[in-house]
C-alpha cells in the first residue's frame, strides 16, 4: 500500500513537472481562463444600453413629449429617428436603424385628459427575440412610471396597487454578476476534461504509456496519478477566475471560500473522471481533443449557464440531472452571491458525489479493459 502511494506521488510529481516546466503549456493553461473571463464579463451581457428607437408622434402634445422625455432620460434608449408617416416604420425596422418604434396616436393627450385609456403602440424587431423582449420590458416600466406621474400631477386617483421591485443578491440585476461566477465551473470544466484526456492520449501517442505499463504501476495508480494533477490545475484556474471576478469586476463575494472549494473539488473529480473515461477510449491526442469539444457543447448548454433550466423541455431538464456542470454553476452562484453554506448546498453536493463516483469507477474499469 505504502509502495503504491509512493508510486502515485512520483507520477503526480512527474505530471506537474511535465506541465509546469514548459513555458508554453504554463501559458496555455493559465492565460486562457483569465482572458475568457474578461471576454465573458464584457461581451456576454443581456443588459441593454443605447437601444436605438424611432418615434412616430402623431399627437405632438405636451403629454406625448413628456412620455418621450421619460424614454430618452432612462439611459437605456437613444432616439435614432423621427418618423412622420406610418409607412416609414417598416423601413426603419428592416434596415435595423431602430430596434423599437414608438407610435403615439393623435388623440393621446385628449384621451388622457378625458380619463380614457390612451394607446401607445410599440413595434419591436423580433429577429433578436432576446433583446426585443428585454427592451419591451424596459418600455413597460417607463410607461408605468409615466402613468403614475400623470395620475399624481393631474389629481386623478393613484393606481390602487403599487409594485415595488427589489432584486436580492444582485440589486441591479447585472448579467455579469450571474455570468462570471458561473464561469468558475464552466471554464475549469473544459480545461480539466481536455487536460486529463490529452495527458493519457499524449502518452499513448508517444509510446511512454507502454513504458509506464511495464513498471509496477497498477492501472488504478496510474489513474489516480493522472487525476490529481488535473484537479489541482483546475483549482488553480478557478482561483484565477475568482480573482478576476473580485479584483477586476468587483463582484462582492459573500460566502465562504472553504465551502466553494469543497464544492469545486467534488465537481472537478467528476470532470476528471469524464476526462479519464474519454482517455481510455481514444488513441490519439486529436481524437481526445475532438471528443472533448463534442462533449463540452451539450454539457454547457444543459447547465443553466445561458438559458434557464426551467425553460427547457422536460426531457432535457431530466438530462441536466446527470450534468455536473449544472450543480457546479448552482453552487458557484449560491456561495458567491447568496453566501450559502454547506448544509444548504446538500441538494447540489450529493448528485455530484454520485457522478464523480460513477465516472471515476467507469474510468478505472475502462482502463483495465483497454490494457488487454
Amino acid at each position: 500500500m505504502f509502495e503504491a502511494l509512493l508510486r502515485i506521488v512520483a507520477l503526480i510529481r512527474k505530471e506537474l513537472l511535465a506541465i509546469l516546466s514548459d513555458p508554453r503549456s504554463r501559458v496555455s493553461l493559465f492565460l486562457p481562463p483569465v482572458l475568457q473571463c474578461l471576454i465573458f464579463g464584457y461581451a456576454a451581457t443581456y443588459d441593454l444600453n443605447n437601444v436605438p428607437y424611432a418615434v412616430l408622434d402623431q399627437d405632438r402634445s405636451a403629454a406625448s413629449h413628456d412620455l418621450l422625455a421619460a424614454l430618452d432620460g432612462s439611459g437605456v434608449f437613444r432616439r435614432a429617428a423621427q418618423l412622420y408617416n406610418v409607412a416609414d416604420i417598416k423601413s426603419v425596422i428592416d434596415e435595423q436603424k431602430a430596434l423599437l418604434v414608438i407610435q403615439i396616436g393623435q388623440d393621446f393627450q385628449r384621451r388622457l385628459e378625458a380619463g380614457l385609456p390612451a394607446d401607445v403602440e410599440v413595434i419591436a424587431d423580433g429577429r433578436n427575440s432576446n433583446t426585443a423582449g428585454t427592451a419591451l420590458g424596459y418600455v413597460d416600466a417607463i410607461v408605468d412610471g409615466f402613468n403614475a406621474d400623470w395620475a399624481a400631477n393631474h389629481g386623478a386617483a393613484a393606481p390602487p396597487l403599487q409594485v415595488t421591485m427589489r432584486a436580492w443578491y444582485n440589486a441591479n440585476l447585472e448579467t455579469r454578476w450571474f455570468m462570471i461566477p458561473a464561469l468558475i465551473g464552466t471554464l475549469t470544466f473544459l480545461q480539466t476534461l481536455l487536460l486529463t484526456a490529452m495527458s493519457v492520449a499524449r502518452e499513448r501517442e508517444q509510446g511512454t504509456f507502454d513504458q509506464l505499463l511495464v513498471t509496477p504501476f497498477r492501472p488504478f495508480e496510474i489513474m489516480i496519478g493522472k487525476a490529481l494533477p488535473s484537479v489541482l490545475i483546475g483549482l488553480i484556474q478557478a482561483t484565477l477566475i475568482l480573482l478576476v471576478a473580485q479584483l477586476w469586476f468587483r463582484i462582492p463575494f459573500t460566502g465562504s471560500y472553504l465551502t466553494l472549494y469543497a464544492g469545486l473539488l467534488l465537481f472537478l473529480l467528476a470532470a476528471v473522471g469524464m476526462g479519464l473515461m474519454l482517455s481510455a477510449v481514444v488513441s490519439t491526442m486529436q481524437q481526445a481533443m475532438l471528443y472533448a469539444f463534442v462533449i463540452m457543447m451539450p454539457f454547457a448548454l444543459l447547465s443553466g449557464l445561458t438559458t434557464p433550466l426551467s425553460n427547457m423541455p422536460e426531457i432535457f431538464q431530466n438530462a441536466t440531472l446527470i450534468n455536473p456542470l449544472r450543480y457546479a454553476i448552482d453552487i458557484a452562484h449560491r456561495v458567491y452571491l447568496e453566501g450559502a453554506g454547506l448544509p444548504q448546498l446538500v441538494p447540489d453536493l450529493w448528485p455530484m458525489a454520485i457522478i464523480a463516483a460513477v465516472t471515476l469507477s467507469s474510468a478505472a474499469w475502462l482502463f483495465r479493459g483497454g490494457l488487454e
Binding site: 509512493l6 506521488v9 516546466s21 507502454d210 511495464v214 513498471t215 488487454e372
Partner: protein
C-alpha cells in the same frame, strides 16, 4: 554511351557550410566547408556516424534549406539561384516518407501524381511500370497504413519516382526494413540505375549497402573523410583483417569484447562463431597475436578486408579512438558460470487479433544470463511475442512464465523483474535526463539511498552526467538510447527486453551498444532482443527465427547457420541462413495451402 548533359556531374558542392542553433542556444555545425562531386548516372552512398551531416546534405541538395556558405550545383543548376528548377528534376525520399495511412496504395500514388502535375495519359503509362517494379500491383486497394514496413518504403519509392526524376535522393531508405524486404528494395534501386540511367544518392548506416555503390562519401562531423569507389576505402584495411577462433566454450562475443580493449586492435565483431578483427598494423609488419595479448594462443588466419574494415580504419585514423570510447566495463567479480536455470518459458503461445493469428503456437525457453535473439521479417509476430513477454499484451492461449511468474496471473509482480526498452524513444521528452531517471526509479519502488545510488550508477555507467540537465527529447540519437537502457536497468532487473535497439543506429553506436549488452550478460542479466541486423545475431547465445507467426528455427547461431547450410553454401552468413530458412518455410506453406 548514356547522355551526360552536365559534364557527368549530378551534384557539385563547393565549400558548403550549414549550422543550426539548438534550443539551448548553442550553435551546431552540421556541414563544415564540405566539397564533393557526385557523378551523373550510378549509385552513390553517404556513410558516416550519427551527426555526420548526411541528412543535412541531402536536404540541402533537395533545396529544402538555404546554405550558410558555399555553392551547390545540382544537375547544372545552382540551387541557391533557382531551387524550383532543381526540385522539378529531382526526387527526395526522407527517412519517414509522408504516406497518407488512411488512403489506399493507389490513392497515395494518385495524390503524388497530382502534386507533380502528371497527366492522366502519363499516369496510365507510368503506373503499371511502377506497380510491376515494386510488386505492389496486388495491393493497390489496401490502405497504406496496413502495409508492412518494407512495403511502405516501396510505395514511398514509387511515389517519389512518379515525376520521372533525373536524380533520386534517398535518406536511409532501409531503416527498419527486414533483410528480405531490404534485398528487394535494393534490387529495385539497382534496376533503376541500370535501366533508366538514374543518378541515385542515398545515405545509409548499413555498410554492406555502401559497398554495393559505385561511389561512397564518408562523412564525419560535417567533414568529408574520403570519397571514391568503395574499393578505395576497403584498401585502407588491406592486410589488416583477420579471423580469430575463440577457445572452446567461450562465446565469440567475450573474445570480441576483450579485443576491443586492445590498443592494437581497431575493430572486432563476432561472426560465424569466430571474431573478425582489424589490426592497427599491417599483418606483414607485425602479426596481430604479437601486439594483442588477448589473441595469445588462438588460431588466427588472415582474411580479405571488407568495406566495413576500411571504414573503421578511416574513422580511427581521423579521431584516434573511434568506436572505443567506452570505458572498460566493470565486470562482476565471480566468473559467470553458465546456468541451466530457465528464466523464461513460452509454451504453445497463441495471440489472435480477431480472425488473424499473429502468433501461432510458439514455444521456447531462455536461460538465465543468456542473450536471446528474436529474428524475423516485418509482420513475423516478433513484436507481438515481445509485447506478451513484457506483459503489455495478454495471450490468447498458451503458457508464459517470466522470472518465475505466470504472466496470465501475476503480471504486476513479474514487472519488478524486467526492464523494457521500446523501439521508439519513449521517455518523457520534456523532462530532463535526471528527472526521467528519478521518476522511473520511484516507479520501480526505489527510494532513499538505494535510489540515489542507482541513479548515480546510471549516470556514470551510460556517461550521461554532462547531459543530465538537458530535456531528454533534445539528446542526440545515441544518448537517447543510452538513457532508455539506463532507465530500464535502474531496478537491476533479471531480464532486459530490447525491441530493435539498433534500428537506425550507426556502426559505431551499434558496437558500443553490443559491448554494453555483452557486459550485462556477463553480470547474469538475461537479455531478449529483436533485431533486423542479421550479423548482430552473432552476439546472441541463441536465436529464434519467426515468420508468419510461427517459429521456424531456434538454436545457437551456429546451429541456425547449419540449418541453412544444408540447402545453401558451406559457410553461410547469418543473413543468408535467415533468408534461406524464411523462403523455404514460405514455399512449404504455399505448397501446403490449397
Amino acid at each position: 554511351m548514356s547522355m551526360q548533359p552536365h559534364g557527368g556531374v549530378a551534384v557539385l558542392g563547393r565549400h558548403v557550410r550549414k549550422t543550426f542553433r539548438r534550443e539551448t542556444g548553442e550553435t551546431v555545425v552540421a556541414l563544415d566547408d564540405l566539397s564533393l562531386e557526385v557523378p551523373h548516372g550510378g549509385l552513390a552512398a553517404l556513410v558516416g556516424p550519427d551527426g555526420a551531416g548526411k541528412t543535412t546534405l541531402i536536404r540541402l541538395i533537395a533545396g529544402l534549406m538555404p546554405l550558410d556558405a558555399g555553392t551547390l550545383v545540382v544537375n547544372g543548376t545552382d540551387i541557391a539561384r533557382d531551387p524550383q528548377r532543381v526540385q522539378d528534376r529531382i526526387a527526395y525520399m526522407p527517412q519517414r516518407f509522408g504516406l497518407y495511412e488512411d488512403l489506399t496504395v493507389r490513392e497515395n500514388l494518385d495524390l503524388y501524381a497530382s502534386l507533380h502535375g502528371i497527366s492522366d495519359e502519363e499516369r496510365r503509362r507510368r503506373y503499371p511500370e511502377l506497380f510491376q517494379m515494386t510488386d505492389l500491383a496486388p495491393f493497390t486497394g489496401r490502405l497504406a497504413g496496413h502495409l508492412s514496413g518494407g512495403m511502405k518504403q516501396k510505395l514511398g519509392l514509387a511515389c517519389t519516382l512518379i515525376g520521372a526524376p533525373e536524380l533520386l535522393l534517398l535518406d536511409e531508405p532501409t531503416v527498419g526494413v527486414d533483410p528480405l524486404s531490404r534485398r528487394e528494395l535494393w534490387e529495385i534501386i539497382a534496376r533503376l540505375v541500370r535501366e533508366q540511367n538514374l543518378s541515385v544518392l542515398l545515405s545509409t548506416s548499413y555498410l554492406d549497402e555502401a559497398e554495393r555503390c559505385d561511389q561512397v562519401f564518408v562523412l564525419r562531423e560535417g567533414k568529408l573523410l574520403a570519397s571514391g569507389p568503395p574499393g578505395e576505402v576497403t584498401a585502407l584495411a588491406a592486410g589488416r583483417s583477420f579471423e580469430a577462433e575463440p577457445q572452446a566454450g567461450e562465446p565469440a562475443r567475450n573474445l570480441q569484447s576483450r579485443l576491443l580493449d586492445e590498443p592494437a586492435i581497431i575493430d572486432a565483431v563476432p561472426e560465424a562463431g569466430r571474431v573478425h578483427l582489424v589490426s592497427a598494423q599491417n599483418g606483414k609488419s607485425a602479426a596481430p597475436e604479437q601486439s594483442a595479448a588477448a589473441l595469445a594462443g588462438l588460431s588466427i588466419i588472415p582474411v580479405p578486408a571488407r568495406f566495413e574494415d576500411g571504414f573503421m580504419v578511416l574513422l580511427r585514423q581521423q579521431s584516434g579512438a573511434a568506436g572505443k570510447s567506452l570505458a572498460a566495463p566493470p565486470l562482476s567479480p565471480e566468473p559467470a558460470a553458465r546456468s541451466d536455470e530457465t528464466i523464461i518459458t513460452v509454451h504453445d503461445l497463441v495471440r489472435k487479433f480477431g480472425t488473424f493469428t499473429a502468433v501461432d503456437r510458439v514455444s521456447f525457453e531462455v536461460h538465465r544470463g543468456e542473450i536471446f535473439g528474436l529474428l524475423g521479417p516485418n509482420g513475423a509476430g516478433k513484436t507481438t511475442t515481445f509485447r506478451m513477454l513484457c506483459g503489455l499484451l495478454s495471450a490468447t492461449a498458451g503458457t508464459l512464465r517470466v522470472a518465475g511468474f505466470d504472466l496470465r496471473r501475476a503480471r504486476a509482480s513479474a514487472r519488478q523483474h524486467i526492464g523494457y526498452v521500446a523501439q521508439k524513444f519513449s521517455l518523457y521528452g520534456q523532462l530532463t535526463v535526471a528527472d526521467n531517471l528519478e521518476f522511473f526509479a520511484s516507479a520501480y519502488g526505489l527510494r532513499g539511498r538505494r535510489k540515489r545510488e542507482r541513479v548515480a550508477w546510471a549516470l556514470t555507467q551510460f556517461e550521461l552526467e554532462p547531459l543530465m540537465r538537458l530535456p531528454s527529447g533534445q539528446l542526440p540519437g545515441g544518448y537517447k538510447q543510452r538513457l532508455a537502457m539506463a532507465t530500464a536497468l535502474l531496478h537491476s532487473p533479471d531480464i532486459l527486453f530490447l525491441d530493435e535497439p539498433t534500428s537506425g543506429a550507426d556502426p559505431l553506436a551499434r558496437r558500443e551498444f553490443w559491448r554494453r549488452i555483452t557486459q550485462f550478460a556477463e553480470q547474469r542479466v538475461t537479455v531478449v532482443v529483436t533485431t533486423h541486423f542479421m550479423e548482430e545475431a552473432e552476439y546472441c547465445d541463441r536465436v529464434a527465427i519467426l515468420d508468419g507467426g510461427r517459429m521456424l528455427a531456434v538454436g545457437t547461431p551456429a546451429e541456425v547457420r547449419g540449418l541453412a547450410a544444408a540447402a545453401g553454401p558451406d559457410r553461410a552468413t547469418m543473413e543468408d541462413a535467415f533468408i534461406a530458412i524464411v523462403e523455404r518455410a514460405r514455399e512449404h506453406r504455399m505448397d501446403a495451402s490449397p
